[in-house]
Symmetry: D2
Subunit: 504 residues, 4 copies
């Protein structure tokens, strides 16, 4: 974290230098500057957390630089953000909806928090509003009670625009609360979707607009967006947008990555045989098994690269002290910066479980109930979104490009469909705090939500109406996906298991 | 278990032989026989489960034989059981109460099972009945909601007779059930208590009769009888009786011991420091601590005598896999045949917990929430109870004296106050089964409960009315207590910790 | 140990009683006495150490009693030990050899101790002497440098008599020493073998006499006698005798068993991959593997019957602290009273090793380098040997029959060929002490060695010359072997693995 | 490693840029460039391996930049390296000694490798040569048999120049070998020392020259240089030089640091109580203790910052499988990038040992037999040394400044006395290889050794003759030491132990 902060500082200085020199120093020098800048940029804006990853990514970084250079994103953004009254009008409609009705709705949802997969009241409010504005609702998609799809009636053509809504609250010690401001995502997304829908209606522009209600962002299992993606819910969508609250107006980097490492959520369940404590040899102890799952993992921590994070809890630890426990379970989050070595880490932890069962005469079931992976982030979308957030009044602007990460927390959707998250400043508090909930009801929250709604509308306007922009987005997205594959291939070559000879 | 069965077989043969030879072989031979018989008897009827214990008990066994010989229990029993119409009449009153009202009450309680410390309905029924028959109720004694004392009004003198009732059901997977037939103990005990109370009323015999309602026999913590004893509830009582269902009409051995080893119930609670999984070094992992409590205990299992039984469960194993667990807990039953070495075993397990905390940077709290210890069993009471159970029709008679064990499961009461449990055959099923619950409602149960009620009444009658019997009971009880102390002293000399030199 | 001591005490009393009563009490009483006596005898003289074993052996014990009763050993011994001048003369020749030459040779070997498999000097002395007395030497049998066979020239017929010699010294902290007096076994056995050889020569009695030099009794691997047996070295021998020093003149019990449980000696070797400490993830840690072999075994100690003894050491624990260890090894002795459950214990320990390898990404080799098993001991041989040892002046006589155990420490030979060990008192020190070495050179040692030599000669005389005796020995041996098989079958039914369902 | 490689690449590019721009772009731009360059330089050339360290070092980095800027090292180096015939002549004398005698001596020592603390032959050759050239030898200093001090006779004044020699070989599987070319360090250092001694003689320049023979660089314990330093052997010396073979001509960075983290070498010895395997409860198992030392460390690996490297071996793992082990030992290298957090890591590992003893009833001795710490490296010495190595023909020049690290492997000496190591390219093989030994005898080795000898002579010449240079060296050294202290203070504030509340 502090490492990236340090790197950003260097980049800012370099950027400053380059700007000054643009007009004064010869092209050859400028060219060198740019190379350095791109390298530094690439170094931070790719997902390479470890020396090994950075080494493996050497070529990919270079090609990513070439890709970005070829797209000339600054010029593209300049072109798109040129004055356009119609776009301003459409964005203005989103602001109007927010101010008249939707900020109040956001406040209401904030005050009635519901945790993941139980957001029935919130979903009722959102779908009623969408229905009223001409959207057709398909509830309970992908076997998720509080997931829904709302397609604007009659819209079916390409470009197919999608807006993702979230609405689940956090689990607090004092009950559910909206400490991550998901309460406002529904109103923000609906403001944009309705403004665009009305635009389509008005202009008969080809295209469609669909709203996706996605439950339980803060929980797994199930991994809602992955389950929806696997069920084909997002099929045919050309671009997806989403808003998310933030302590600053953020500028996502381009590339692939995730905020908090790639994650496997795994449950290990052991069965043994019960027996009275007086004759334990007639039983098989499932508690010893789950204990030795942990002990076995500890035994190989030093044999696993130090960037891994393996953490578990014991969810079932036996029923009574005078009976040999015959059923126990543990829940693990297993993380690594990249999914290639993560698979090796999983092999270690799964073998730890198998070994625990083998040693204790018990049996184990391994359930990989959830996966979080790198998503894709495009500069063509991110830089335009950033420009619009600033344009519409985003405060506390952070110019430094962040680590790239997809617009969805699972990576399932964002690695398959281009898209972007809008994060105008909406709070002075850190993530996941009661302060953030308070800010959702305050001026800072309201102001930021309206910025997000307008910026989202403006970007969707451009995507709907400008074929050149769509082409650039698609070109970049395809390019990054190819590089992402190249990167994983490269990692696969690096991460070899050491050879262990037969003992003599 | 099978070992003791085998030994009993030998004893029976020897006993048989001795009886036959009494009149036919010379005194010297008879003397030898008796020595062997006493040795064999002592070998089984004392609590010495291990070679070390048997060696330490060598002198105690000899003195126990002398004590029993000096009491001449068979002659005493023969004297007490001589025909007595008044005793029969009193016992008959107990049978009458059973048959008229109390078997039905037992059935009712059987059908409305309540687990330990929640037996409010059962206690309501029992105390109402006692009140109706002239007992004064003190509810909620010793801070236990469903414990009570019921003293027969006006009775306050010595001999002070006490009757222990139990009424808690088992915790079954399908809810509470009376698989140990505690449901009948209230009715049986009340029948005897009321019959004796009416006798006192009628004869103005000096003495008092008190009924003790003791909850939660099947659960700890709290250890109800110990808590009641420590609160002085049983103070001043001269003899205590209790019934308990059984698959056979049993003959308890004399001495000290427990059914299932001496037990310490201990809860180990660990506190650490929470931290997000991404930065676990900012936390201290309480789950690792509790895991290593188990691992540390396993590490010394081979250094602990093999008769120990140490078994635990993890009752709190962490809250969420992405947060370093900051609080965990384990619950252990720690058992050993004698309490002297049990203290050494506890030192091992407590050190295992302290070491786990030390190694993981966490803290531990050790809560020894319950203790089960050897109780005292007197032949003067046991042999008379056995004779009466046979007299009143006890079926499935097992003539072999069982391992001595006190009349209460904690040893707290039975090692301090003389007493006896009545166990006429009341079931064809093993302990702790649904079959036993069914039998409580059937003829076999009813028949045995009535036997217990009458035998209990008869023994209380003798104790109330015969000073010579009370003196013999007291002499034996005092003698066994002295030997019990001697035995523990002897063990303390045997169980030395090995000397460990400083490492060089 | 103390348990058996206690039981012996009871038996002695019973035995004493029975003798007295034989003439005085009626047959019915005597009969009961005898039943008890046999039961008690069986209880001690079989190898059943655990309740489960005793239960499984119930029928076998009964049949063993029937077998022994049918043989009427006391009568057989009385018949054999009747005065016989020729036998005395033959035994006298053995004494003469001892006194003239062989005690001096024993002293010499005592003073030049050589540890197992390095006894070249001792073997040289012994074989030279045998050669001089007409034996043909085959050195280095069964691939053991210091093993040999010495067959008396021309002798080839049945009955084939065999004498086992041992000569290895103990490994002391100050070098090899004869703290177990194996130094005298060669001289004792040779005295008997030569006396018998000369008898054959003189009488032309059919039969043969062979001396077996067996190295390394105190060491494994290799397990010398098992290796010799497997190589067919003892093929065709009808009876084997051996002497062994002892603090008392001992009376071995009849049946099957071993002194110190059945044993598997197992070496576990792990291989990993080396790596510098700075990058341990490029290696696989074989030290963690061997550590977790121990930890895994500890994890199931409570799931293994408490009579097991599993103890190991780490013989290779890594080479340098800054390199991930790529090779480690542990050496275990795994013991259980019977070989049937021992196989289950081995499955636990082998799985502990496999699990350790699986969890750590290493590989394991399992080498069961040695096995010690129950041997067979026959009353027809033991009681006659005991009678002769007393006859020739054995001191410090212990009348109580010991736990049955074969005449060889591995059980390989003694469970296949009838035989007996002679243990007249030769020392006042415990086994494996410097005191025992000193006594080998003193009067107490010399006196006992001469007793052993004569008793051995006398028994071999009887076996050579008396067909009825040979038949009785064979009948008992065959009977015990059948019962041994029955016992193991019975155990196999008892020791079931608990069923473990698939986890849900 | 690859991370630093990547950073160097960036720096090289930036450096290249700056050179070009120096003459073309305005001062303001140049100034910015320089700031960036210094930041980047600082980022790599300080010892901050972790984000936390870099954060803690923020101010120190800035001040280090100021210090280096104030010294204007490039100008200093330019001034010192200006043509000087006398210096060239002196360096030429060193070359002459190498070519005439000392390369042959190096070859001889290479061919007669001796491992650490056994280098008697090598020391004999070196001291004889020094004696012949007027040095007075003090052998066996600091209780180290193969350590020595050789002071040039009559020289006693300041500046006091010191030359460190090493001569130990590596421990190979096939015996000792000179795979790190220490064999040449004696000749190289002596060539310089004698050339300077002759200069002093000739010019009567005030000052002294002392040669330090330091054994066992590749081994501990003992940590030879620390032991010598603590014994005052280096007292009063103003500058120390040393050569070391290298695959390239290296340019050490300025600051403080170590090649391979700060290290504590610790031996943990456990004592228990022995007992036969049959009665393990009479013993205390020291093997379980050492095993649980490892297991306890594994339990907290996730609670320790991931840059730690903790690796151990079991050096004593028990004597025999049938005896409870009563003595075991483990040897650990414990590493962390800085010594402040290393102390916390040590607390974890020491507590792991204490907890293992507590849990197993054994005792532990903790012996911290060796410490390796950050040393100080000065640009005033390093840049001049680098310039001279290039001047005298150093090949395979690596212009990128390396991570700063002291001239001695322990840090004890280099953090107290200014000094520098000379590393001209002398091999094509990696460190610690047979290839490196071969190269010591080949042209590439010989050529490099002669470069080192001359460069060392030249730098000593400057230090001896130029007060301004000495002042600059001292100023930098003092400044870095102050910053080093500041850095450690800053770290002490960062590394807090988490608060653990009492469990409730």
């Amino acid at each position: 974290m502090s490492f990236f902060a340090a790197m950003r500082f260097l980049i800012l200085m370099a950027t400053l230098g380059s700007r000054v020199t643009v007009v004064r120093i010869p092209a050859s020098i400028y060219h060198r500057w740019m190379m350095i800048w791109h390298l530094l940029l690439a170094a931070t804006t790719l997902a390479q957390d470890t020396p090994t990853e950075r080494e493996a990514a050497h070529d990919v970084i270079r090609k990513m630089g070439q890709l970005e250079t070829s797209l000339d994103v600054p010029a593209l953004v300049a072109k798109m953000t040129a004055p356009n009254a119609d776009r301003e009008k459409t964005a203005g409609r989103a602001r109007e909806l927010m101010e008249k009705e939707l900020l109040a709705m956001a406040d209401d949802i904030t005050k009635h928090p519901e945790i993941g997969f139980e957001e029935t009241r919130s979903v009722g409010i959102l779908t009623a509003y969408l229905k009223k504005h001409g959207f057709e609702i398909t509830p309970g998609v992908a076997d998720l009670k509080t997931a829904f799809v709302a397609r604007y009636k009659g819209s079916h053509d390409h470009p197919a625009l999608g807006v993702i809504l979230e609405y689940d609250a956090l689990r607090g010690t004092k009950g559910p609360f909206h400490g991550d401001q998901h309460s406002a995502q529904g109103p923000v997304g609906m403001a944009a979707a309705i403004a665009i829908a009305e635009l389509m209606e008005r202009t008969h522009a080809p295209g469609s607009i669909t709203v996706f209600g996605t439950p339980g962002e803060e929980m797994m299992p199930p991994v809602a967006k992955t389950q929806m993606f696997d069920a084909g819910v997002f099929k045919g969508i050309d671009v997806l947008v989403r808003s998310h609250s933030s302590p600053s107006t953020q500028r996502p980097g381009a590339g692939f990555g995730s905020c908090c490492l790639n994650i496997d959520g795994v449950k290990y369940t052991f069965s043994g045989a019960p027996s009275h404590q007086m004759m334990p040899w007639d039983g098989r102890n499932a508690l010893e098994a789950v204990i030795h799952l942990f002990v076995n993992i500890d035994a190989v921590r030093a044999s696993i690269r130090p960037e891994a994070r393996i953490q578990g809890i014991i969810t079932e630890g036996g029923a009574a002290p005078n009976v040999v426990p015959d059923r126990t379970a543990a829940d693990f989050y297993i993380r690594y910066p990249d999914e290639v070595y993560l698979a090796q880490v999983r092999e270690f932890t799964d073998n730890a479980a198998r070994a625990a069962a083998l040693a204790t005469g018990t049996k184990v079931k391994i359930d990989n109930y959830g996966r979080m992976r790198d998503g894709v982030s495009s500069a063509t979308l991110a830089e335009l979104a950033f420009a619009y957030m600033k344009h519409f009044g985003g405060t506390k602007v952070d110019e430094a490009p962040g680590k790239p990460q997809g617009f969805d927390e699972t990576g399932s959707v964002s690695s398959a469909i281009p898209g972007i998250g809008f994060s105008a400043a909406t709070t002075n508090a850190p993530y996941h705090t009661y302060g953030m909930e308070t800010d959702a009801l305050a001026e800072i929250g309201h102001q930021g939500f309206v910025v997000d709604a307008q910026a989202m509308t403006a970007l969707l306007y451009d995507f709907l109406t400008r074929g050149d922009y769509r082409a650039a987005v698609q070109k970049e997205f395809d390019g990054i996906r190819v590089l992402f594959d190249e990167y994983r291939d490269s990692l696969r070559k690096v991460y070899k298991n050491p050879e262990v000879p037969e003992p003599k």
